[in-house]
Symmetry: C2
Subunit: 370 residues, 2 copies
């Protein structure tokens, strides 16, 4: 249909350097048509559909019925233009500059947020973008006006984006926090520090004294907090955190394997690993078994578990002992918070701290006596 029209246009004008697009919205019913069919004004129909009180229940029903029958749905661009609201939330997902890695937790976070958006009639617009370009993208989102707010992912220490977004004047909520950032902002985070303190404490209670930390990249705020939790637990137990045992890198299976293999081959190998993601943990398990050690007996592993849908650790007795916190649920909550901020400006800057839950699985046991 559309194809034909444009084709005609192209053949009509000989060699135009610029295509002029057809203007009409072809076949979708619009407000005018609907109101004509009903013998009502656009005003009334609009009001009826949007639930304004000035229209009688009878006509409201007539209108609703007709709208359904003709499969009418208001054009969002027009509505947005009229209301000044885009009915969409932006997610800017950074591509790690070094590795071009998309953190797999995004899929689940976004699945959670998407649930809420769908329920509230919002769309989600996604930009996947190099770290360096994020600021530009936020600015564009504001000036293009295609979102009403954004969720900021993967905050780093003293993240400049927070100040930028403040200037820009676009409502935003940070998934995570940015320590060192002076300005107030809305956020939702899991208590990473406490989770790792707790996990380390659990391993200490089992008698482990040499405990490795395989952390995510330490420019990430969450990684910093996790390390500090780990260190706090050791210190509280009278131990001195050994820098040799604290590694950080992209959270991949390969990293887990390599790091664990190296550490286990060292003169004084750790008896336990505390790691930042299931993928790392899987790599660690491989290194343990490759070395002929028994996973969960000779060497214990505790992981942070984002409860990703395709990496489930949910059996009756989970494979991995883990600090678990569903990132999908985090997505839901973050989305709900941001929508609320938009719907009720003036409610201030909400924040929410989720606690991870310790689930004991087969990957931990008492430290072997040595």
């Amino acid at each position: 249909m559309r194809a034909q029209k444009a084709l005609v246009a192209l053949t009509e004008r000989p060699v135009v350097s610029n295509v002029r697009w057809p203007k009409r919205f072809e076949d979708t019913m619009n407000l005018k048509q609907l109101s004509e069919k009903l013998g009502l004004s656009q005003t009334t129909v609009s009001r009826a559909l949007n639930g304004y009180p000035e229209v009688s229940e009878e006509t409201r029903l007539r209108v609703a019925e007709a709208a359904r029958r003709h499969n009418y749905r208001p054009n969002m661009r027009a509505r947005g233009l009229a209301t000044g609201r885009a009915m969409a939330i932006g997610h800017v997902i950074p591509l790690s500059a070094k590795f071009a890695i998309v953190n797999p937790i995004f899929a689940d976070f976004i699945a959670g947020a998407g649930e809420i958006y769908a329920r509230s009639g919002y769309d989600m617009v996604l930009s996947i973008v190099n770290e360096s370009e994020e600021a530009r993208v936020y600015g564009e989102m504001k000036s293009k006006g295609n979102v009403d707010g954004v969720i900021v992912h993967s905050p780093r220490h003293d993240d400049p984006r927070i100040a930028q977004l403040g200037d820009i004047g676009l409502p935003f909520l940070v998934h995570g926090r940015s320590s060192g950032c002076a300005l107030p902002y809305a956020w939702l985070d899991v208590n990473n520090r406490h989770a790792f303190e707790r996990a380390a404490g659990f391993l200490l209670d089992l008698g482990h004294r040499r405990m490795a930390l395989l952390n995510g990249p330490e420019e990430m705020d969450f990684a910093i907090r996790r390390r500090s939790g780990y260190a706090a637990a050791l210190t509280a137990a009278g131990l001195v955190p050994d820098p040799e045992l604290m590694l950080c890198d992209e959270m991949t299976e390969a990293f887990g394997h390599r790091a664990a293999a190296d550490l286990l081959a060292a003169p004084e190998p750790p008896t336990a690993f505390l790691v930042a993601s299931m993928l790392i943990a899987i790599g660690v398990r491989r290194a343990i078994e490759e070395r002929g050690l028994r996973f969960g007996r000779d060497v214990s592993v505790v992981t942070f578990d984002d409860d990703l849908s395709y990496l489930s650790n949910l059996d009756a007795v989970p494979v991995f002992t883990a600090m678990r916190s569903s990132v999908r649920e985090a997505g839901r909550r973050a989305a709900a918070m941001l929508l609320r901020m938009i719907a009720e400006p003036g409610i201030g800057l909400p924040s929410q701290l989720l606690e991870a839950e310790l689930v004991v699985g087969q990957s931990t046991g008492p430290a072997p006596r040595g």
Copy 2:
């Protein structure tokens, strides 16, 4: 929803029966302001910025400069309303009804597609939605007019969505194919059949005769094709595919582990596994090693490798022998194809078949003589 909003308003402000939203686009420069600053008409400024020829090079420069200085960017809703184009592509990502699993390949596919969109000034709008609701969402996208086209993910056998989208009249491209679907449609797919035929052939050449297939869910079209490739290779070698050795399920590490553990414990265990994803392969490796068998010696594994960024298998000698095809590259190409379909209607329905590449890693070796 709206009802709720109104309710909230009622409790907040005393007597107002309805919230009327503020109309003005607060602080972002608009075309009118910019043209006034320049002493030109909106027409001229618009044309200058959009590269139409009717404006002198001199004023074009002036305009461009001013636009940059004032950080002007056209409001997409208004532009969309005027042009009838949304400058956005929709991705509807199905949530497996049974497991609520988000296939992890989406993250990378979308990263690839996003690159192209960004480069072309398009946005990506994402809906994550239960399988059952997909059709509705496509219809909404059309009538809401917030996308110019969609990419269809995870096609199943004779997928009804293809016919629906045809009716709806929204340009679309399928990532994958839907065998059994009579209608023509645009698609991009990897040659799954050939990839698995090739991989099975490779294992046959190594002397493997009992070869298990751990496949994805067989309502998925790609899984069907993979099985048929596997079966074809066996048949060509004079073997009869053994149903006992062909399993399918969600592509998780847990499935790989469970299935491989079961099969290896059976009276006539396979000497090789052909599996549908890296995660499955990782599970298989675990089962092999748990059983005290040597991975890549006693038991061989070939996997399909989507080259996901966080599951890299790219070492000089890869861990897994794999049929590799980058899903991120697929995302790039799919996006480019769809954009082209939209920009040049009348080019028909393009399609592209990618070939996976065989990379030989450490997970395969000659069949043990027994």
